[in-house]
């Protein structure tokens, strides 16, 4: 990936992370950990890969994205805001009465949200339906979805995986955000989904394994998925929960906890410093 393009994505991703912290801090609740682990991939998708138009969010030929791990909505909202679907100021209304930014994504309320999600395991099925709709209509748009590694404990994920492969939906890409942590502990301890790559492979998917925080690897994976014919692609993205905020990294406890003022200040200072370094 071109160095200047990568730098711009890193800058955007840093701003997205600040949006996550800003939103969750103001809401006094929400899910920062998984939002920070998926932030780079969401930034890449909306700023470098997907064919979307913030001026026309319901454009019928747009690429679609379904946040199957719906609790990490703060990352999606920050990306959509920076992309221009709505004002960045909206982020501070997250989870407040009357806000367009609900605790979990609502396609009825938020411009740019393609599917209402939040109940784990269901988003991927809707992404499969969208990909099937594209094939049926002879349209070339593509469909992306992101799942948590804990989420794939839901049986419905594997129903969807089986169906997508059986129908040859090569216009579908599922990202597994493999940060290795869920509410009750590490995914391996709670109810191990490993080996993830082998499972998707056995279900008939093209599988690519990457580091979720390397834009070079992210770019190569999504470009390879776009070229791959005959099977849907699963990108198993090894990530760090809480990535970018030192005290949140790899900490289960930051799955669904909002920072207090002191923690907010520290997190923002760290991200500001990272941003200043990138922009220098």
């Amino acid at each position: 990936m071109d160095a200047s393009v990568k730098k711009q994505l890193q800058i955007k991703a840093c701003k997205v992370r600040m949006g996550v912290i800003e939103g969750v801090f103001n809401a006094k609740s929400g899910h920062p950990g998984g939002s920070l682990s998926i932030a780079d991939i969401l930034t890449y998708l909306y700023f470098n890969h997907m064919n979307v138009d913030p001026k026309n969010p319901k454009w019928e030929d747009r690429d679609r994205f379904v946040l199957s791990k719906g609790h990490t909505a703060p990352a999606l909202y920050a990306v959509l805001a920076h992309k221009g679907f709505f004002s960045v100021d909206e982020i501070k209304t997250l989870r407040k009465p009357g806000s367009m930014l609900q605790g979990h994504p609502s396609m009825k309320l938020t411009p740019g949200v393609d599917m209402s999600t939040g109940s784990l395991g269901q988003g991927i099925s809707t992404a499969v339906g969208m990909a099937l709709g594209a094939k049926l209509a002879g349209k070339s748009y593509r469909v992306f979805t992101a799942l948590g590694d804990g989420e794939i404990q839901e049986g419905q994920v594997w129903e969807a995986a089986m169906f997508a492969a059986a129908k040859g939906l090569d216009n579908l890409v599922a990202v597994i955000d493999n940060n290795n942590l869920q509410i009750d502990g590490s995914v391996a301890e709670v109810n191990s989904p490993y080996p993830i790559a082998e499972k998707f492979s056995a279900f008939g998917w093209n599988v690519i394994e990457i580091c979720a925080h390397s834009f070079d690897e992210i770019d190569a994976a999504f470009n390879a998925a776009a070229e791959f014919k005959g099977k849907p692609t699963a990108i198993i993205a090894k990530s760090v929960k809480g990535k970018g905020v030192s005290f949140m990294e790899n900490q289960c406890s930051w799955h669904g906890t909002a920072p207090n003022e002191e923690q907010y200040n520290q997190a923002m200072a760290e991200l500001q410093a990272a941003l200043a370094e990138l922009e220098a």
Partner: protein, 314 residues
């Protein structure tokens, strides 16, 4: 009623889907390995490119239906009521109901008249479950004529709907030129002493009960409620005011179904005695459908007894 035409509503569902498919290429049908039984197999045969079998995976099927609906298709997703409303309740609630997507759930084999398969397959809870989802339309047609009309009407309605069909062939109670109106109850007979409000296959029993009551000098009104949600408050309130007693009849648990819906309306608009005929909060069992309906009290005789009790309670 020896020469009465009897057709299962699921049969009418399958035929209506084919009719729809012919005039609307945006209609898609999904099934979960029950196409022969739900009768969506008719659509599969006519339009194989617009039929998708999800296999035995109802939860995923509902999600796929929702995703397809967002891309502009009118999707009918079919299974037995038990596995549609039951197993996939939360998928229907969160992924179809909450975003108010244009998915029609075609649920066949509802109620005790599934017969020999027994309690595991006899869904008497589906209306109760579906009623609690905001914005969900629920239709329980009385016969094949109404089933066809409802399917055609719901294809033109934008939003989620639950269509409930039966396995058993039931007597035709509507004329061939019957006009279906969403949310409008149908008064089948005038009456002044009591009103029988029935839905689905119990409409036929209600008409028989009307005759039995007439023999005893009781003049019963009969109303067919095909749309359980949104319910026709007007026709029910008028019945309460004008006849002063109501008996409901449904092939569903007496908790949460038509009886509950009618009682809710009556309590708030014009309190009069309401007696409910239905499956009395119990599981079903195996046996021929017609016998099961008798065993579980889904009969004209039971309606007569409850009608008299309702009148006595005035």
């Amino acid at each position: 009623m020896a020469d009465v035409i009897k057709v299962a509503t699921r049969e009418a569902y399958g035929k209506a889907l084919v009719e729809l498919g012919e005039k609307n290429d945006k209609v898609i049908v999904l099934d979960a390995d029950l196409a022969a039984a739900t009768k969506t197999g008719m659509f599969k045969k006519a339009f194989p490119e617009r039929f998708f079998d999800a296999g035995i995976a109802e939860s995923n099927m509902m999600g796929v239906a929702a995703g397809l609906a967002t891309t502009g298709y009118t999707v009918f997703a079919s299974s037995f009521a038990m596995f549609a409303a039951g197993r996939a309740f939360e998928q229907i609630r969160n992924t179809i109901g909450y975003p108010h997507l244009n998915v029609k759930i075609g649920a066949t084999h509802a109620g005790i008249s599934v017969g020999e398969d027994g309690a595991s397959h006899q869904c008497c809870e589906d209306i109760a479950l579906m009623r609690t989802i905001p914005g969900m339309v629920i239709i329980n047609p009385a016969d094949d004529v109404e089933a066809r009309a409802a399917v055609l009407a719901m294809a033109d309605y934008e939003g989620p709907a639950y269509l409930r069909f039966g396995r058993l062939a039931v007597p035709r109670v509507n004329a061939p030129d019957y006009k279906f109106e969403l949310g409008k109850g149908v008064q089948l007979c005038e009456g002044k002493d009591v009103t029988i409000v029935a839905t689905g296959l119990m409409v036929g029993e209600a008409l028989t009960a009307k005759e039995l009551l007439k023999n005893e000098g009781i003049d019963a009104r009969v109303i067919n409620i095909h749309t359980i949600k949104p319910i026709d408050k007007e026709i029910i309130t008028a019945a309460a005011k004008e006849t002063g007693a109501i008996v409901t009849a449904e092939e569903h648990n007496i908790i949460g179904g038509l009886g509950s819906a009618v009682a809710e309306v009556v309590c708030e608009s014009c309190p009069v005695p309401v007696m409910r005929v239905g499956v009395e909060d119990t599981f079903g069992g195996s046996g021929p459908a017609v016998e099961m309906l008798k065993i579980y009290g889904l009969t004209a005789e039971k309606i007569v007894a409850k009608a008299k009790a309702a009148i006595a309670a005035k």
